[in-house]
């Protein structure tokens, strides 16, 4: 791995003190900029659009959406799968790459974990809203109800409730535990008394004792070990929501691995979409170097190829099965009423990532940004194609139908960006976006290995 001419993970000339100053100054010393205010105002406006769309939904019901019979799973499920997929990159970076000793992850893991949390928050909204009566969401949980009923344990939809809520809880705890020592640093570096108090309360009185560190490290490592199979299980369970049904285009054993690869693919695309502007706006190019962008691009290329393999397998299997419904479904995706979506997803997810074979493209932030945006679009379209084209024409032509999203569908989707971006803007403003303790340790280790 350590080729001498490789771009370093941290620009030279930093010690643990200057790393700490640089990261905390983004929050504590930087004045409230016009750029941040404008960005936050924009995100907040979108959030209000979401509020509006949800408010009307609660008054009128899911009939304001484009869903119908046969397409009962419209945008809500597409958006759910898309957002939860994005949420997979954070845990992948912080847990799997930690266990694999990939030290370049250090400067982007906090940010990616935050992105995961906010993406999961957006994802969680959609199935709840799709329930029709979100206020009785607790019917999904096992609780002693007066009718003596239990959830149906054999249904993947019930597994999904447990998988997603476990994932949200574990991601939140993982993120917060990693933040505790950094919150102590924020407490000790902030001058105003109220700020010291707030960061102090959030840091729980952390004082960096050697005994505490030992338990902390062990707990963090075990959390990473637990999160690793968890992240793979979550999207597998999501894919079973489809694969267990008998609808052509859903009923396929390739779904779990293909969904997990797609999730990590779209997650890294979102990491790049966000990191490239953030590192520029906050002058963090010394910590989030070209090396990070290139590594993310490599993971995108690898997972993109897995996704392409999934598409090819699906097409091959429908031909090889000699099942006329399956063959019709494949042809209908390519040439039916939703053909433009299928060709768009092939362009964005299969063709575009091939550019990442070239180092000159992987190391060019502007081009990477555009590529990552296209992959985000492609992965959203993929879920749209899976949900809509499979449902709209299944076995009986008399039961066929067409689905068109309404303006309320669009407002809810666009509004969810508002929720995501508002949380992200607040995070960047209030908390250290890069792990201070891990960076301090990394700089020290690099110095020691140079001296040897």
């Amino acid at each position: 791995m350590n080729v001498p001419d490789e771009t370093p993970v941290v620009a030279p000339g930093y010690d643990s003190g200057s790393v700490t100053r640089k990261i905390t100054d983004v929050v504590l010393a930087r004045p409230l900029g016009r750029g941040w205010l404008a960005g936050f105002a924009f995100a907040f406006a979108l959030l209000m659009l979401l509020n509006f769309a949800i408010g009307w939904l609660l008054i009128r019901g899911v009939g304001i959406w484009g869903i119908n019979i046969p397409v009962a799973w419209g945008f809500a499920i597409v958006n759910f799968v898309w957002w939860i997929g994005i949420g997979h990159a954070g845990t992948f970076i912080s847990a799997i790459l930690l266990l694999l000793h990939q030290d370049w992850r250090t400067s982007i893991n906090r940010f990616a974990e935050a992105m995961t949390l906010f993406a999961v928050a957006c994802a969680g909204l959609f199935p709840l809203l799709h329930l029709g009566r979100p206020w009785v969401f607790y019917w999904l949980l096992p609780y002693p109800d007066t009718m003596g009923l239990w959830p149906q344990w054999r249904s993947p939809l019930v597994w999904d409730v447990f998988a997603v809520s476990t994932y949200a809880t574990v991601s939140l705890m993982f993120w917060y535990v990693g933040l505790i020592p950094d919150l102590a640093t924020m407490r000790d570096r902030s001058a105003p008394r109220p700020l010291q108090f707030i960061y102090g309360v959030m840091a729980l009185g952390w004082r960096g004792s050697a005994r505490h560190w030992k338990r902390f490290k062990m707990a963090y490592l075990l959390l990473a070990g637990l999160a690793t199979p968890l992240v793979l299980s979550v999207h597998s369970v999501v894919s079973l929501d489809f694969a267990v049904a008998i609808v052509p285009g859903w009923h396929s054993t390739i779904f779990p691995p293909y969904f997990v690869a797609g999730a990590i693919f779209s997650g890294f695309a979102m990491v790049l979409t966000l990191l490239i502007p953030v590192r520029k706006a906050y002058g963090l190019q010394d910590f989030i170097t070209i090396r990070h962008l290139e590594n993310c691009a490599k993971i995108m290329l690898a997972t993109g190829l897995m996704v392409a393999h999934g598409y090819i397998t699906e097409m091959f299997m429908s031909w090889y099965s000699d099942d006329k419904f399956d063959i019709y479904m494949t042809l209908n995706r390519m040439f039916g009423p939703y053909a433009p979506a299928w060709w768009l997803l092939m362009f964005c997810n299969v063709l575009v990532p091939q550019a990442l074979w070239f180092k000159s493209i992987r190391t060019n932030p502007a081009i990477l940004f555009v590529l990552a945006l296209l992959v985000n679009v492609g992965m959203w379209t993929e879920r749209y194609v899976i949900v809509v084209t499979s449902l709209h024409r299944d076995f009986l032509p008399s039961a066929w139908g067409i689905y068109h999203p309404t303006r309320w569908d669009w407002m809810t989707l666009i509004g969810s960006f508002g929720l995501f971006l508002s949380l992200l803007f607040l995070f960047l403003r209030l908390l250290p976006a890069i792990s201070i303790t891990e960076m301090g340790k990394l700089v020290l280790d690099k110095k020691e290995s140079r001296q040897q």
Partner: protein
Amino acid sequence: MNQNLYGMMAEFEQTEELLNAARAAFKAGYRKMDAYSPFPVEGVAEVLGFEHTRVPLVVLIGGITGAAMAYGMQYYSAVWDYPLNIGGRPLHSWPSFIPITFELMVLFAAVAAVFGMLLMNGLPKPYHPVFNVPAFKLASQTRFFLCLQATDPQFGEGTKHFLTSLNPIAIHEVES
């Protein structure tokens, strides 16, 4: 000697200095002491005599509890409390109970890891005597501290002299 003394603290600039100081203090017979650093320093907890942490055990218990509870709940409800014939499948259709068993195992183990670690560390603890030292602000940023506690039988008139012999940047008295 000051009665309100929690301990005596030496401040260092390098991790190796902290490690050497902790080693020397342990050799000199000090046991009630702690080291403070902005990031984990490899080996210092072991030098202080803290070899084993029970965090893994707590996590194991949490995971087993979660898995057992989840499987037990599904078995009880599907076989005993509300048996339903779904397409002729056996009531105890164990493969479909595995995903929830797995998820709750992870959930309970993770909760045990986080809360176990915090409780064993005695956190949250908003007040601690070491915070009385103004320079201790640097313990979360750049400096490394070794604190010998006044309750240690070895602690006495010679302690300050001993700490000076370790060549720290500064020595602080910690008010309790």
